[in-house]
Symmetry: C2
Subunit: 340 residues, 2 copies
Amino acid sequence: MKMAIDAMGGDYAPEEIIKGAVTGARQNGVGVILVGPQDRIEQELAKYNHNSIDVSIVHTDEYLIEGEPAAYALRKKRNASILVAVKQVRDGKADAVLSMGPTGGVYSAALQVLGMVEGISRPMIGGPFLGYSPQSIIVDMGGNVDNRPDQLLDFAVVGTVYARKSLNILNPTVALLSNGKEEGKGNDVVKQAYDLFKKSGLNFVGNVEGSDLVAGSANVIVCDGFVGNCVVKFNEGLALKNMEWWRSKLAETMPLNKVDEIIEDYRQALYPPRSAGAGTLWGVNGVVCKNHGASRSQDIVATIEIAKRAVEMDLVNALKAELEVVRRRLNQTSLVNFTR
Amino acid sequence: MKMAIDAMGGDYAPEEIIKGAVTGARQNGVGVILVGPQDRIEQELAKYNHNSIDVSIVHTDEYLIEGEPAAYALRKKRNASILVAVKQVRDGKADAVLSMGPTGGVYSAALQVLGMVEGISRPMIGGPFLGYSPQSIIVDMGGNVDNRPDQLLDFAVVGTVYARKSLNILNPTVALLSNGKEEGKGNDVVKQAYDLFKKSGLNFVGNVEGSDLVAGSANVIVCDGFVGNCVVKFNEGLALKNMEWWRSKLAETMPLNKVDEIIEDYRQALYPPRSAGAGTLWGVNGVVCKNHGASRSQDIVATIEIAKRAVEMDLVNALKAELEVVRRRLNQTSLVNFTR
C-alpha cells in the first residue's frame, strides 16, 4: 500500500511532514510518495534513516500558500503539490492521499481530480469528535456551508455508511442537530430536511439539541458544516482549557507524576478513539485524508494510520454499494431525486 | 420595585415558581405580582411565611402548555398568564416581568404587548455563557434563527450596549462567529454581514472561530441564534458531563468533602458570574426575563436578582440612547437603513 503525501501542505511543511512520513511509513508498513520540491525533500530526508522503507519523490515547485483563495490558486498553479499528490491516486500510483494544507485546496483538488461518488454533490468531513460519545458521528464538521436540505440528506446517507462500516453499528440512528427537539424546531433548511429525512428510509429519530452531542443520542448527527465547524472548534478550545485548568488545580494537591497520569486519563475521556474515516473527505471517489494545518509529525503518523484503515476497509466501495441501495429505495418511492 | 411573575410558566409551575418568588422577593427587597389561577397560587403561598413581603395576585385561568405553538396559542388564550404578566409592565404596575414558560410564548407576548425598541426587529438573548471568558458576550443564543445580515448587526449593536453597561467595557470589540478567521470565510449571511460590520463604526475585529468563544477573543461575538443555541446547549451538556467525570475520578484519590470543594471551584470556573442582562430579552421595550423551563426555586431567585439589576441599570433606556448614537452615525454615512 502506498500513500501520496503533499510535502508542502501545513504550517510546519516540509520539515514535520517528512519527519512524520518516514515514521508513519515504518510504523504502518506502507510506502510513501512525497510530492514537492525535490531538493527540499531530499534535504529533509537526509536527516532520517529511511533505508528500510519505500520512499519516493515526485517533484513539483508549486504549492498553495495558507490564506490564498484555493480554487483560484489551483487554476494558476496547475502543478501545485496537492494537485500532483491527488493525481497519484487517480493514476493508480497511490492508494490514498494525505495533506495538511489549506482545506479549500484539498477539497478543490479532490473534487477536480477524483470527483465525487455518483449522487453526492460535495466532499464532507465527519466522524466521532467527543470521547464521551464515541458512537456518535457528526457530519459535516468540515466547514461545508450553506447546504440545501437534500445535501443534509447526503450527509445522513454517507454518515450512515461510515457508522455501519467503521463503528460496526448495524442500523445507525440518524438525527438532525437543531435548536430544539420537537418537530417544527429549526431554521428553514432543517425544517425542510426534517420532512425529507422522515421519508428517506434511514433510521431517522428526529431532532436533537447541542447537549445530545455529549449524550450521544444518535449515531449520526447531521448539521450544516458552518454549525459543525463552530461546535467542533469550540470543543477543541474548551478541551485544551479544561486540561490546563485541571492540571494547575491538581498540582496544588498531588505530585506531578500523579497529575500527568490523571490528565492523560481525562484526555482519553475527551477524545474519541481514532476511527477509520475520521479526517477523510467523505463522498470523494478515492481516499483523501486531511488533518489540521498545525499538524506536527505525530499527527502525520496518525493520519497515515487512518488512511491505511480507510483503504483496508474499502470505504469508498462500501459507500458506493450502500448508496446504490438507498437510491433504489428512494427512487422507487420517488421521494428524492439523487441525480441532481 | 415590583416584578410580575408568570406563576404558570415552567416545568415545575406553580410550586417552584411561587417558592422562588417568595424567597427572591425577600432576598432582593422587591415586591412580586403573581399571575395565574388565584386558588392554586393561594394554596402554594399558604406554605410560606410571606407577611413581611409585598405579594399580590392577578388572577387568570389560562396559560400556555409546553409544546403548543406559542404564537397560535396566544391568539386563542387572550388571558394567558404570560400575556397578563407582561401587561403589568406595560401598564406601569410592574418594573419587570419574569417567566420560565415556553421561549416562543415569552417572545411573542413581549413583542405583542411591549414591542421592540425602535429600529430593532426581534428580541434576542445574549450574555456571557462560559466562565473561562466572562468578558465575552455571545448573541443570539436564544434560538432566533434565519437572521439577515442587518439583524446580525442589530445583535452587534445591542451586544455592544450590554457589554458597555453590564460588563463596564468602554469600547467593546465585536466579532462574527465563523468557520474561519480570514475575511471571506463564512456562510452567505456572515459574508454579507462582514461588509456591513466593517462599515458600522462598531469596534469590529473580524471573524472569530469556535475556539475563540473559549479564549474570549472579542467582547461581543455575534451569531445566528441557531448556531448560538447549538453551541450553548453543547456547552451545558459538556459541563455537566465533565463535572460528573471529575467527581468520580477524584473520589478515587481523596475524601468526598475535598472532592466537593474542588468540584465547586470547577463549577465556578465553568460558569460566568451572573451579569445584568443575562436571560433578559434584549431589544424589547421593557425588562423581560426568561429562564429555562426546568427552573427550580433557586433559579427563580437568581432571575429576580438579574431582573432587579437590569431595572436598576436602566438597560432599556441605555440601549435606546446608544442606538440613537449608532443610528445617527450610520445615517450620516448612509450605510444602513435602520428604519426597515
